[in-house]
Amino acid sequence: MNLTAIDWVIMAVYLVFVLGIGFWLRRSIRTSTDFFLSGRSIPAWVCGLAFISANLGAQEVIGMGASGAQYGIATSHFYWIGAIPAMVFVGIFMMPFYYGSRARSVPEYLKLRFDEKTRGFNAITFAVMTVFSSGISMYAMAKIIKSLHLFDEAFAWAHVAPERIFDASILISSLIVLIYIFLGGLTSAIYNEVLQFFLIVAGFLPLVWLGLRNVGGLSGLAEKAPAGFMHSWKGMSNTAENPLGIEWFGLAMGLGFVLSFGYWCTDFLVVQRAMAAESMSAARRTPLIAAVPKMFFPFLVIVPGIIAVSLPSTVPMPNTVASDGSTNALARKGIIPQKVDEKTGKPEFDTAGNPVLDYTLAIPNMLMFYFPTGILGLGLTALLASFMSGMAGNVTAFNTVFTYDIYQSYIHPGATDRHYLWIGRIATVGGIALSIAAAYAAMQSENIMNMLQLVFGFVNAPLLATFLLGMFWKRASANGAFFGLLAGTAAAAIHHGLTLPEGAAWGIKGGWLTGGSWIAHTYHREMAANFWTAIWAWAICFIVTVVVSLFTAPRDERELVGLVYSLTERPKDEGGSWYNRPITLGVAVLLMTVALNFFFW
């Protein structure tokens, strides 16, 4: 499979447009508010699409396709339970405080509500974490692009070694993201995210259509897919009977509440998109509008994964993994090949001697399997677009938190607005450079990166309790919040250190506190262990915050107006007709989600 001129032209058209938007918007950036908050002037639907697009990074597309291939439609819990309720909650209940307080970032809200130390803790961990996760997703994407072997011919023609494809995909895509954000700031990122959203849909929709047509529609897929793959809830009463290895309580509390609310309600990467909205009503509608396409995304990214494992293992294999054509010698399931060790080039087997499958190739192989040249260029562009929108989300969140919450607060307060605008642009360059460094660090040692992600996971897990108490309990005090956060982080680390998923060795997967000699609980799957770590972190943070708050002095209530629920006027839904109000939209979104769950019972 090789690219032809038409594929290259389509990719070029995309590049011209993303860069063109950046150059066009350059003239509309005059103040730091324009650069970091789009002058708070973006319409709700644009913010809404950017809201999901920024979240829809390469890891999401590749990861959800892989998870679909591995676990089936149950993966859609990450959307229907793990995203929609939280998106409705943040829009209806939390946005009035984020937007109404005029905080310019999530850490800044913490400063207004609590104090400097909570903000500092949150800002610094968030900034570092953003750079790392951006680097890790860069690494993952470059690896995928390299394994497609679509660019081999072009590189050979240019007399460049094929090993350079990895470097080229990282450098070129980060350069493009750098240019359009440097020029047009958040507006440019948001506009391009909307463009990328439509492109991702345009690239994947025909793939799903062809795939479903080939296997005989949803009913045909249910016959051909591995048993239980088309049911999202069956077997959820018992950890052993469902593919995710978790029971319904752990799923609802861990994924549906702590992890999902923690991400959608407190992560500045997504909240920033709503903060850029033109009015309070638009800010509140942003996550609700985003929830509508979000609930249908399983059809776009999970269903192709299921199709990939359901195809007969006799169909010709797309030539990924090995350029010498040895792919066909590997073990496979559907069109998902066995994993090949990158360093040794040998196929991988688990401890029981079964071949390890490379599920991350589900979506890329589907593209290569069904798309002829022409539309293949479009599919590839969609993959690139998902990569760039995720990276841009990280970069804009980083430059804002760095400039407002770190530079302006601790390094150089009281400078002119022009100076901060300039620092924002410098931070954009710096953030991307650090992400590239993180991507190469991930290439050197995936273990170090996994460990860093784990540590940041501990820091992140309890945050939700801090925000909920901060927004809905006026008695929560600054010291309560700070020590609650520390205790929650410690609880996450301790829970992780004392438990292990089934069959795992102690270390990165858990059990490190005792060196594996004593384990408090063994989980069926790693995912279940992660959910319970989050539940513990949240609960301990909640309790410690409440207890410490009761023993420390509360803030003066007059200072909390606009920051806490009971002291803030209910936002009026200005102007809009009844069907355009946040509450109506929220109820509609929840009803649609329930219907989808019944459909895929």
Binding site: I6, V9, I10, V13, Y14, F17, G20, I21, W24, L25, R27, S28, I29, R30, T31, T33, D34, S38, G39, R40, S41, I42, P43, W45, V46, S101, R102, A103, R104, E108, K111, L112, D115, E116, T187, Y191, V194, L195, F198, A202, P206, L210, R213, N214, F369, Y370, F371, P372, T373, G374, I375, L378, P413, E559
Partner: protein, 96 residues
Amino acid sequence: MRLDIRLPIGLMFAVIGALLTVYGIAFSDNAIYERSLGININLWWGAILLAFGVVMFWLGRRGTSSVQPADDTAEGRNLEQREANVESAGRKRGGH
């Protein structure tokens, strides 16, 4: 200065759609469509994208949603003023 996002989106999809449609017509009975179940997916999907692009572009030409610098409008200036107030109030609260 103003830019309605629907204009570049519409234009881009119209261009990509047109490219695919033309390519689909030019190479219509080719063995390349074996993988797409014998369907000339370039032609059909190209035509759909072209139509989508044209509609978006038309909506953008007609519509008003656009971004402008904050200090171009009275509301924008007012907003920046309020933001400056919040900031100085925040600094006072924080004890700086």
